[in-house]
Homo-oligomer: 495 residues x 2
């Protein structure tokens, strides 16, 4: 038995553990009674501990070294690369640092839960300082192992191979045109007749029926997945059993519907990943957070907020809720879906202003990680960023730097993946349309098959065979190019 085959057996085991963990996490967010939390935390910690032990077992390093000298085909070679990457991340940190980090994350997040509603940054500051100190230690150790900068080492946890040297020029381009563009888009919007309100109530059962109908249309495989409710919408489970969630608001059907469309984009990626042998190997898993977010945003933002799709969806929506009138016509619904507004809150932001929210966070977290800025100065720097990019001033830290859980829960280096995903989505959708002229027309008749086929061939079926950069280049002919996203925004919002 070759070293490589022994590695495949080991990673098949950690994949099964990972899949079990995914179901336990899904259950925790959707089904578990509150009283089960403590015992569930124990179950999750135990399974994670076993997976960590397995991947950091003393003989694994040697197997990886030996396997690298064996004859491997393309997929095996890529699989070995992904195994190596998982091993580096898992084995880099000493156990006491992992412990300290886990404890600091919980402590900081707990204080943040109180500090946010009280808009009291000072209260959480000491905890955040402790946590950031540990995160920087983690970054420094992994940076050494990966041979990259500290920020990139953290980013690499979410986006394998992600490098700030590639992000910086792209974000700089966005930063250059966004402030002016937002103003123009708002002006165009103001010049149009006012939006007509689509008022509720919208019964949950009808909203769910609409969501299920759209999932089916997009190609969601109900033999391998399901739809449920959770506090925050997400896509969880495993490629063979992919579970998406949404939440319902009686007065607004759009948020649940867009949630379903977004998560279905994630789910289609999971469904389309390689099956069989590679299904239980690192190379068969989704490429990273940027590719994943690109798939959800491609469906939600590019395809389903398009005028073409809204033309098809509007009658379906009218029929589902038994309504009629001008406010239920495709034009009004379309304009509702692409409404632009300068706001303080990232998760409520539209497609045009969203990148500004992300760029501000990216610049700040990078400066903090690299020691170019003090945490005390965060609130002021945050507000300065909002003034510069969005022209607004958060009235307090609740609507400012305390709004997102990421930093307070230990997720540093995550934010850029949102906007990189959005830009990747635009570039993929653009290439897909060039490759198959029927894709946009398909959306107009509720037929997602042409689009889905293109994505399956060019993205989903490749798993982690290529780097994100290679994947995008092979699919679209070039690496990430911010002008495609810009062109999409100009077409949709100024056209």
């Amino acid at each position: 038995m070759t070293a490589y085959s022994r590695l495949e057996a080991i990673f098949r085991k950690t994949a099964a553990l990972g899949d079990a963990l995914a179901i336990l996490h899904w259950d925790m967010a959707t089904m578990m009674p509150n009283g089960g939390a403590e015992s569930r935390t124990e179950q999750i910690a135990t399974l994670k501990g076993i997976a960590h032990e397995t991947i950091t077992a003393p003989d694994l390093a040697e197997l990886l070294t030996t396997a690298a000298t064996e004859t491997l085909d393309n997929w095996e070679r890529a699989n070995l690369r992904e195994m190596h990457r998982e091993w580096v991340h898992a084995s880099a940190l000493p156990a006491d640092l992992v412990d300290a980090l886990t404890r600091a994350e919980s402590a900081c997040e707990m204080v943040w839960r109180e500090a946010r509603p009280a808009s009291d940054f000072k209260r959480v500051l000491p905890h955040l300082r402790d946590l950031l100190g540990l995160v920087r230690q983690v970054g420094a150790i992994k940076a050494e192992r990966l041979g990259v900068g500290v920020y990139d080492a953290l980013l690499d946890q979410y986006e394998p191979g992600g490098r700030s040297s590639e992000i910086d020029p792209v974000f700089t381009h966005l930063e250059g045109f966004l402030p002016g563009f937002i103003g123009e888009a708002l002006e165009v919007q103001a010049g149009k007749p006012p939006l007509l309100a689509t008022s509720g109530p919208f019964p949950v059962e009808s909203q769910k029926a609409l969501g299920l109908k759209m999932m089916e249309m997009l190609g969601f495989d109900f033999h391998h997945g399901r739809l449920d409710v959770s506090h925050h919408p997400f896509c969880g489970g495993t490629p063979a059993d992919t579970r998406i969630t949404t939440r319902y608001d009686d007065d607004d059907f759009v948020s649940a519907m867009m949630g379903v469309l977004h998560e279905t984009g994630h789910a289609l990626y999971e469904f389309g990943l390689p099956k069989g042998r590679w299904g239980s190997q690192p190379v068969g898993r989704a490429r990273g957070m940027v590719a994943h977010e690109s798939q959800s945003l491609l469906m939600e933002m590019q395809a389903c907020r398009s005028r073409d799709f809204m033309g098809f969806a509007a009658p379906l929506i009218r029929e589902t809720f038994d309504r009629q009138g001008a406010e239920w016509e495709a034009d009004n619904l379309y304009r509702r879906g692409i409404r632009v507004e300068r706001g303080f809150i990232r998760v409520e932001a539209d497609e045009v202003t969203y990148p500004a929210h992300v760029i501000i966070r990216y610049r700040l977290e990078k400066a903090l990680i690299e020691g170019r800025m003090e945490l005390e100065d965060l609130p002021a720097a945050w507000n300065e960023g909002y003034g510069r990019l969005l022209g607004i001033a958060p009235p307090d830290d609740r609507l400012g730097c305390l709004q997102d859980i990421h930093w307070f829960g230990g997720s540093w280096g995550y934010f850029p993946t949102y906007t990189l995903g959005a830009m990747t989505a635009a570039q993929l959708f653009d290439a897909a349309q060039r490759a198959d002229g029927d894709i946009l027309a398909g959306l107009g008749r509720g037929d997602f098959k042409p689009l889905r086929d293109w994505l399956r061939t060019n993205i989903h079926g490749k798993g982690s065979l290529l780097s994100t950069r290679e994947l995008l280049t092979e699919a679209t002919g070039r690496p990430l190019d911010p002008t495609v996203f810009e062109a999409h925004l100009r077409r949709r919002y100024l056209g």
Copy 2:
């Protein structure tokens, strides 16, 4: 650190794995889309494999030996005994026998699924012969390790400490009076005015509302549990997160309701088990299948099919389904709940005829395991048993020896626990009433607290501290006594 404390840490880990497995099993039966089955089987096999490795690790035997020489209190001593028992069962079998058994179980069960509807015993016979051969090997190895007979070694897997030398006299007593008693009960029943039909449809939502109301009444803790739907009702999950299921029949509300009451009995046992340190140790888990079945049958058969409870429940049922008339009066509903009938199918049997179904199976499986009978003779021997104990002749093997999954799936030595549970339930309910005169009166006003308190003190809270025999003796003053069950039947069916 003592050997004993190291053992507690190891078993805390296997408990967390067991809890995770319980949730994965529950999910498989209630939530999982069919396409997830293969991947789920892999997850379950992986987790079971890890638990098995953990418990059969080379140093565990030595830790058990060393711990036995350390100073331990009562609970620790009992915990060590339970650890030792788990270790014996897990480590007794060579890996290739476990493999062969697993494969034979799947193969036989698969053929049985086709042979049953075709009533074709011959078709499954070769597979059943292979399987039984392996089961006998398992029994022989464990018998040697446990110092008991082969049948008892198999029984011990489900009912720790269960011994046929204690079952035989009890079942012989039942066998002596049952055939005559069934005739008498049917005669008394025939002498009463005919039952009035309670006809449907009964909307699922109303049935569910009724079930939830009754669960609350019995003391189900919704902070630590939930109610769902599955093909076969069961009680799963963990003590901190106990999940019961039922199934709904539009035309019959009684089956779902009784399913809920039965499973709630199981759940109350889980809720009442020791918490904290012992909650994650073998001694803190339920005593065995007999004790567990006694708790479900105590609630369903003893408490909830009583005339006292039906007096309280009848108005609730009428109100739930918005019905009235003589057929909805407590007397008619009570008599419906205790209707006796000679039937072929165990799972449809009433409380009076049920033990006959079990005794027939017990005698047969014991003879087969002990090599006193050939599998070829099973159908004839089965039918002979039904003639002797129930006075009926199954028209074919579908309604005869092919009806239950147990033997064909590898569960040999399980059947007696059903009737031992029923008898234990009668004896406990009898003792509880003697101890607290308000228990029966409580049921009449929908107040289960007196009963629940007695059970928590005398059964639930003791986990696996005592043997089943000791537990029953401490709670009722004597070991299992079939005359208490007999007296219960006489009172209810001849009185």
